[in-house]
C-alpha cells in the first residue's frame, strides 16, 4: 500500500530515470511513491513561458522553467554568489537542469547515441580513464529496452547506425527522421573530407504516433520544449504511472537520507514549500534526481555511521564529475544551408570519437545544429542600420547562410573534478552545490591537435567566409560522474546494478554511475542503467 509517507519503493526525482524504474516496480506489483522537489505544470504553460520570453534570452532554457524558491536550479539570470551552482577551478561546470515534475528531459534534444564497446574499455584499450564494470554486450539488451521504452527512432541501414562495432539485438522501433536541406548539404560536404554524417538516433516519433504521443511535425523546438510531445519527455509518463497506482508528491524537497542501525536506508525527509519537514519510509529507495542533486543529497545526509556522507565510505561521492566539453564553430557561408527545418539535432559525425589516438587525447563528436537561425542573427542584422528591402534580405541571408557546428569532447573521470557543499545556502537554508572543474589536458590536447583542425576543415569545405570559434569550452549539460560505478567498493559508489556499495536498499542509477562517458549524449545510457537497476530491484523485492 502506498501513502504519502510510506511505500515499498520511494523514488526521489521524477525525471526519466525515476520514471522508468517506477513503472518497472509498479508493473511488478509494488507500491511506488515519487518525490519531486519542484512543481508540476502543464505543457501549455511551459510553451507560453517560452514564447513570452524576450528573443535575446530564448537560448536560456530556464525562461521556460522558472525555478520555485524552494527548488532552485540554474538560470541564466543569476551569477556569482546568487547563482545556484557555485564554481571553483579553472572551468565552470555550468549545467542546465530543472527541478520540475518530469525532470530535465523536458528540455533535452532527444539525442540518443549509444556508447561503443571501446568506450566502455577505455583504460584497457588506451590506458586512460576508467573502464566500465561490465562490457557492451551486458548493456546492449538494456539499450534495446530503452529504445523501445522511450521511442527512439533510428536507421535500419547498419552502415548508418551507431556504434559500428558491437551487435544490435533488435531494430529501432521507428525509422530515422529525414534530413533537412542543410543537413543534406552538410552530409555531402563532410563526405568530401571522408567523414560520415549519420542520422542521430533520437527519442522523437518518426512518421507515426508512438506511446500515445503524436509524430514529429518539425516544430523545431525540441529544446527547450516539444510543444506536442512528439519528443519523449518523462512528463508524458506521469499520468500513466498514476493510473498504475503511483503517488507523486511535488514541491517536496528531500534534504536527508536516513540510515538505521544496520546501515540500511530507513527513510527520507523532505521540506514542503512552507518549510515544514515530513518523513517517508520504505523498503527500497532510489535517488534519481540527477548527477548533481544526488551527490549533494548524499553529502548532506552524513551521520555518525556515515561521517563522509551516505554511500560515501569510498570518498568518491561527488568526485569524477563529467560532461562533454564543447566548442562551437559559427560559420557564415556563401550558399544557404537553412538550418531550422526538422528537429534541432538530427545528425552527427561520431566516427571522430574513436581511434587509437585516445591513448594521447580525447575524441570528439561533430554535429550540425539544426536550430532555426532567426533568433541568432536578428539583432546582428538590425545593428547594421539597414532598413526596408535591404534589412529583409540581410535577415534572410544571415538566417540561411549561418550555421553552428559543435565539437563535443570526451572527458576522463578525474576525482579532482568534485562536487562539495558550498557555504552558500539556498532559500530553504540547504547548501548549494559547489563544483571544482577542469576539463583537463586530455580534452585540451584534443582541441589543439585534433578537433579544432577538423572543425576548421569542415568550415572551409562548407564554403565559410567567416568562422567564429567559441573562446572556451562550454558545457553540453550532460551531467555524469558523482556516484561512479565500480566493482571495488573502495573506489566507487555503486555496484553494477547502481546499488550503493554501503547500503543494500539504496539505488543511485543514472549518469552519476557512468565510469566513462565518451562523446555522445548520456541520457540513453542513463536510462539503460536505470532499467538494469529496476530489474535488480524487482529481483531484490522478491526476497524482501
Amino acid at each position: 500500500m502506498v501513502t504519502k509517507n510510506s511505500a515499498d519503493v520511494v523514488i526521489v526525482g521524477t525525471g526519466v530515470v525515476g520514471v522508468v524504474i517506477a513503472e518497472q516496480l509498479l508493473d511488478a506489483g509494488h507500491s511506488v511513491l515519487m518525490v519531486e522537489a519542484g512543481p508540476r505544470v502543464s505543457r501549455a504553460e511551459v510553451v507560453e513561458n517560452w514564447r513570452n520570453a524576450p528573443l535575446g534570452v530564448k537560448g536560456d532554457t530556464s525562461v521556460a522553467y522558472p525555478p520555485r524558491p524552494w527548488a532552485p536550479h540554474p538560470t541564466g539570470a543569476e551569477k556569482g554568489d546568487d547563482a545556484y551552482l557555485q564554481f571553483t577551478g579553472p572551468d565552470a561546470y555550468d549545467q542546465t537542469f530543472i527541478r520540475y515534475a518530469g525532470g530535465s528531459t523536458w528540455h533535452w534534444a532527444g539525442t540518443s547515441w549509444r556508447l561503443t564497446p571501446e568506450d566502455m574499455r577505455i583504460n584497457s584499450l588506451y590506458g586512460v580513464g576508467r573502464d566500465w564494470a561490465f562490457d557492451y554486450d551486458t548493456l546492449e539488451p538494456y539499450y534495446v529496452r530503452t529504445e523501445h521504452k522511450l521511442g527512439i527512432c533510428g536507421p535500419s541501414d547498419r552502415t548508418k547506425q551507431w556504434p559500428q562495432t558491437g551487435d544490435r539485438s533488435a531494430p529501432y522501433p521507428m525509422p530515422d527522421l529525414p534530413f533537412s536541406p542543410g543537413e543534406v548539404r552538410f552530409t555531402e560536404v563532410v563526405k568530401t573530407l571522408g567523414y560520415n554524417n549519420i542520422p542521430v538516433s533520437q527519442a522523437r516519433n518518426s512518421g507515426m504516433p508512438y506511446d500515445g504521443r503524436p509524430a514529429c511535425c518539425a516544430n523545431n523546438n525540441c529544446v527547450p520544449v516539444c510543444p506536442v510531445a512528439a519528443k519523449y519527455d518523462a512528463e508524458t509518463a506521469l499520468h500513466r504511472l498514476e493510473k498504475k497506482g503511483a503517488t507523486i508528491l511535488v514541491d517536496a524537497v528531500v534534504y536527508k537520507v536516513e540510515t538505521n542501525a544496520q546501515n540500511k536506508i530507513e527513510a527520507v525527509s523532505y521540506y514542503d514549500q512552507h518549510k515544514e519537514s515530513h518523513r517517508i519510509t520504505g523498503k527500497l529507495f532510489v535517488l534519481a534526481c540527477n548527477g548533481l542533486e544526488n551527490p549533494k543529497l548524499l553529502l548532506m545526509s552524513k551521520d555518525d555511521r556515515n561521517p563522509n556522507g551516505v554511500a560515501n565510505s569510498s570518498d568518491q561521492v561527488g568526485r569524477n564529475m563529467m560532461d562533454h566539453p564543447a566548442r562551437s564553430f559559427t560559420v557564415t557561408t556563401k550558399d544557404p544551408y537553412w538550418s531550422g527545418i526538422g528537429p534541432v539535432v538530427n545528425s552527427g559525425i561520431m566516427e571522430t570519437s574513436q581511434g587509437a589516438f585516445r591513448s594521447e587525447h580525447a575524441g570528439a563528436y561533430f554535429r550540425y545544429n539544426n536550430f532555426a537561425r532567426n533568433r541568432f542573427v536578428t539583432f546582428a542584422a538590425l545593428k547594421k542600420g539597414l532598413v526596408g528591402k535591404a534589412l529583409d534580405e540581410e535577415i534572410r541571408r544571415m538566417t540561411a547562410c549561418t550555421a553552428d557546428i559543435v565539437a563535443a569532447h570526451e572527458i576522463l573521470a578525474d576525482p579532482n573534478n568534485r562536487l562539495t557543499l558550498s557555504d552558500k545556502k539556498d532559500w530553504l537554508g540547504l547548501p548549494k552545490p559547489s563544483i571544482h572543474y577542469d576539463v583537463g589536458d586530455y580534452v585540451r590536447k584534443c582541441w589543439e591537435v585534433y578537433s579544432q583542425p577538423i572543425g576548421k576543415k569542415i568550415a572551409e569545405a562548407m564554403g565559410a567566409t567567416d568562422v567564429k570559434i567559441s573562446p572556451k569550452f562550454n558545457n553540453s549539460k550532460h551531467i555524469m560522474g558523482g556516484t561512479i560505478m565500480g566493482k571495488d567498493a573502495g573506489n566507487s559508489v555503486v555496484d553494477v546494478d547502481c546499488r550503493a556499495h554501503d547500503h543494500e536498499n539504496l539505488f543511485i542509477p543514472g549518469g552519476g554511475a557512468m565510469a566513462a562517458g565518451a562523446c555522445g549524449n548520456s541520457t540513453i545510457t542513463m536510462v539503460a542503467l536505470a532499467i538494469k537497476a529496476g530489474d535488480a530491484m524487482v529481483e531484490q523485492m522478491r526476497g524482501a
Binding site: P54, L55, M208, N220, G340, G385, L391
Partner: protein, 181 residues
C-alpha cells in the same frame, strides 16, 4: 503569447495605404480631442497609437498588426519623453519627401535622437522586443517580422509548418525573393 493578437490571419491588418490615409483621419480626431477637453484621455491615446502606426508604416514596408503596434507605442510612451514630438518630426520628414517607402526618406532623418528612435521602432517590429536584453518588454513572438522574412522556408520555432516526416525539400537559393508580408 499570452497577449494574443486578435487576428492571426491578418484580416484586421491594415494595408499601408489604408494606414497612411487613416492616419490623416485620426490626426483630425486627435485635433478635435484637443479642442474638446471633455473627450477622454483614452481617445487621445488612441490618436497617439494611430500616429505611431502611421510612422511604423512609413518605416516598414509591410503590413503591420495594430495590436502589436499598440503594445510598442505603449512602451515607447514610457521610454521616450518626447515620443509625440518625435512621431511628428519623422512623419514630417517623410511627408516632405512624399515618401512611399522607408528608403525614400530614412537617410533624411538626422542622426541623434530622431534616428535612434526610428531605429528602435524598426528594432521593435522585427525582434518583437524592446531590446536584446533579458529585461526586454515583449510585444510579440510569432508576429516579429524577422520570422516573416523566412516564412517560406523555416518555421517559427514551436509552430509546425510541416507534417510527419514531410520536411524533405530542395535547398532554397538566395535568389528566391523575400516573401510578401
Amino acid at each position: 503569447m499570452t497577449k494574443q493578437s486578435n487576428d492571426p490571419n491578418g484580416k484586421l491588418m491594415m494595408s499601408r495605404r489604408g494606414m497612411l490615409l487613416s492616419g490623416a483621419t485620426l490626426l483630425a480626431g486627435s485635433l478635435a480631442a484637443s479642442l474638446c477637453p471633455s473627450l477622454s484621455l483614452a481617445a487621445a491615446d488612441a490618436g497617439a497609437q494611430s500616429r505611431f502606426m502611421q510612422l511604423s508604416n512609413l518605416l516598414i514596408n509591410h503590413q503591420l498588426n495594430p495590436d502589436v503596434g499598440n503594445r510598442i507605442a505603449e512602451a515607447a510612451t514610457g521610454q521616450y519623453k518626447n515620443f509625440a514630438g518625435m512621431l511628428d518630426a519623422i512623419i514630417a520628414i517623410a511627408e516632405k519627401k512624399n515618401a512611399a517607402q522607408v528608403e525614400d526618406f530614412f537617410a533624411d532623418i538626422p542622426e541623434g535622437e530622431l534616428k535612434d528612435f526610428a531605429n528602435w521602432v524598426i528594432f521593435a517590429w522585427y525582434s518583437g522586443c524592446s531590446s536584446d536584453k533579458r529585461d526586454a518588454k515583449v510585444f510579440t513572438y510569432e508576429e516579429a517580422l524577422t520570422f516573416k522574412t523566412t516564412s517560406d522556408v523555416v518555421t517559427i520555432p514551436s509552430y509546425g509548418i510541416s507534417g510527419p516526416n514531410l520536411w524533405t525539400r530542395p535547398n532554397v537559393p538566395l535568389s528566391v525573393p523575400v516573401p510578401r508580408f
